[in-house]
Symmetry: C2
Subunit: 366 residues, 2 copies
């Protein structure tokens, strides 16, 4: 099968690395000249809204998926008009994942609580919203946010104008969330097949700094089987509601053992990279299996820790290769500040401790 | 680093799948239009002896390796004349691996016994050789044999002419080996780094039919630590003798607990495919690490079984995906009788039993 991927970054690259052994080939649409997926498939260079590029991209493709959710609506319209092939996970999932209001609405519909929130379309309505929610609170662009971009914490109502100017939200504006004193962030990676089969991986515990994921450990410590089951049930309900096919990630706040929904990503997710080595079938292989109409693989997993490599040259990460059991994934990108350029996975019962040692020794968390 | 590979079949493909996450890119020289490594790198289509193709292949390449040993000497001469980059494992390893006489000579030099043998260059000298060795015996072309091709078993001296006509050996003729009543075939996959570090994987036990590898299980059952150490020591001695850099495979006959050397392959090997899932660092990643001057990865391994998929269409192998813990590797080749088109790996303490069940259920051994 030929799989078309919107976006040609590291997620597309890892999808292909997992899907090629299943007999698939990959085509990537990405405007970047140096799209790193070009190493593992055909790269069509063009804008997502360029009809000509879309046509070249679709040529010979059997199914279309995406590696980022901020796909312009005009591109989706073009795809819908031209593609006789399925888009998986699908337009509903994509539109939901593109807008924090839609996400939260869906979360509530399936019984997943979220922090109290209001929407605002202007500095004026943001003032009102902040007054209602109270401070401290978090203002987030409804659309196009990632890696902490498009967010601001408000300590007092006086911060509203600064926050608005900092975020500079495009339509449809922002969302204001009550500040939740959460204990930790957890995420679940789940997959649903074309025939409706569902599987979830063990919950991961994630640590962010500066809005960027730094570390994930899985299974998250101190997770009861009830908590795992609750997270899985939420994912299942959301996926059924969206007639979802593929991998979905949901980030939760763990507030004293209660899960609140933070956000979802309708795609493979950074907090599931550890599944490459630690799971019988990785999130990447399972996404490919699902969208290709194949049966799902087992999500049975060993303990693992994942460290993101951010904005560093490869020379600075090669020390990883000296550590038995540490697996380097380099994405082939030019290092820039704040840019994810690779990750390291460690598998085994002492993965978390080994990751701590490794990160300290090689300065990987910097 | 850009890694050039002579040959663009499934071994090159799996080298790239393992090496791309380390930040490398791959270029393949292969005369075949449909070389399956083209999915994971730049494919230069051309004969190995075509100076123009060699030049296009070498452009931008930092190190050259190969995925098959039957590279024409003229191609090696061309490479030596043009390449300012290292060929790894190297010409000595390649010339040795190309000729059964050189292999056996080297085996004996490092103290690895081999079945009694004679060389022959003509039907007449083959008569003499067979008379000296006795029947039954095995006649093998010294060069260009693989997957059982270029071999014949002689039950009586009267079979000499038939065997010669069947093999139709090119220069420098054939080798006649005493028939060894071996208990099983074992193989060791070992790797040596550019700085001389050595690692070996646990011995695999291999089952051939019709001269083609069907199954490997690893670690081979009933292998004492002494036997493992002996196999590793032979590999180490051979690699040091050849100043070897990369992965080497050696096949042994186990004759009542005594190892006799059968043959070597100066490359990644079918009997090491199980290392992709079962070892901390696979044979493919370790070969890439070695030739790229990186430190070796751990060969620590879980038990595994590997089943070759031979000459079947993919539809006929997809049932594998329904089995938890079974990993499909499809090479993207057109199925033809006797052609290796993929393999399946099963990991875990009950891998061998699961492989038996799977093979029976899906008819994978046929």
């Amino acid at each position: 099968m030929v799989i078309g991927v919107l976006g040609g970054g590291q997620l597309g690259r890892m999808l292909a690395l997992a899907g090629i052994p299943l007999g698939h080939r990959f085509v990537f649409l990405d405007p970047a000249e140096d799209a790193v997926s070009a190493d593992v498939g055909r790269h069509v260079r063009g804008e997502y809204t360029d009809p000509d590029a879309i046509d070249r991209f679709l040529s010979g493709v059997d199914v279309v998926t995406f590696e980022f959710e901020n796909i312009p609506p005009a591109a989706l319209d073009l795809l819908a008009a031209r593609a006789a092939v399925p888009l998986r996970p699908g337009v509903d999932a994509l539109r939901t994942g593109q807008d924090r209001l839609f996400e939260k609405t869906l979360f509530r519909e399936v019984g997943l609580e979220v922090p109290d929130f209001r929407v605002a379309e202007s500095p004026e309505s943001l003032h009102t919203a902040v007054a209602e929610i109270g401070t401290p609170c978090v203002v987030k662009s409804r659309r196009m946010g990632y890696d902490g971009k498009g967010q601001a914490v408000l300590r007092s109502p006086a911060d509203v104008t600064r926050a608005w100017d900092q975020i500079r939200p495009t339509a449809p504006g922002v969302i204001v969330e009550a500040f939740v004193p959460f204990r930790r962030e957890l995420s679940v990676i789940a997959v649903r097949s074309a025939s409706g089969r569902f599987e979830a991986y063990p919950l991961a515990q994630n640590r962010h700094e500066g809005g960027i994921l730094r570390r994930s450990i899985a299974p998250a410590p101190d997770v009861s089987s009830e908590l795992q089951a609750t997270a899985s049930a939420h994912a299942k309900a959301i996926m059924e509601r969206l007639a979802y096919v593929g991998v979905l990630a949901i980030e939760f706040f763990d507030v004293g053992g209660r899960l609140l929904g933070n956000e979802m990503a309708p795609r493979v997710h950074n907090s599931g990279h550890w599944t490459i080595e630690a799971s019988e079938c990785s999130q990447f292989e399972n996404h490919v299996r699902a969208i290709a109409g194949m049966p799902l693989g087992s999500t049975s997993s060993r303990p693992a820790a994942m460290i993101n490599l951010i904005g560093r040259p490869i020379e600075n990460a090669l020390g990883v290769l000296d550590i038995a059991g540490a697996h380097l994934h380099w994405y082939g990108k030019e290092p820039r500040a704040g840019r994810k350029v690779g990750h390291v996975t460690i598998v085994g019962a002492d993965a978390t401790a080994t990751a701590d040692d490794l990160a300290a020794k090689l300065g990987l968390d910097r």
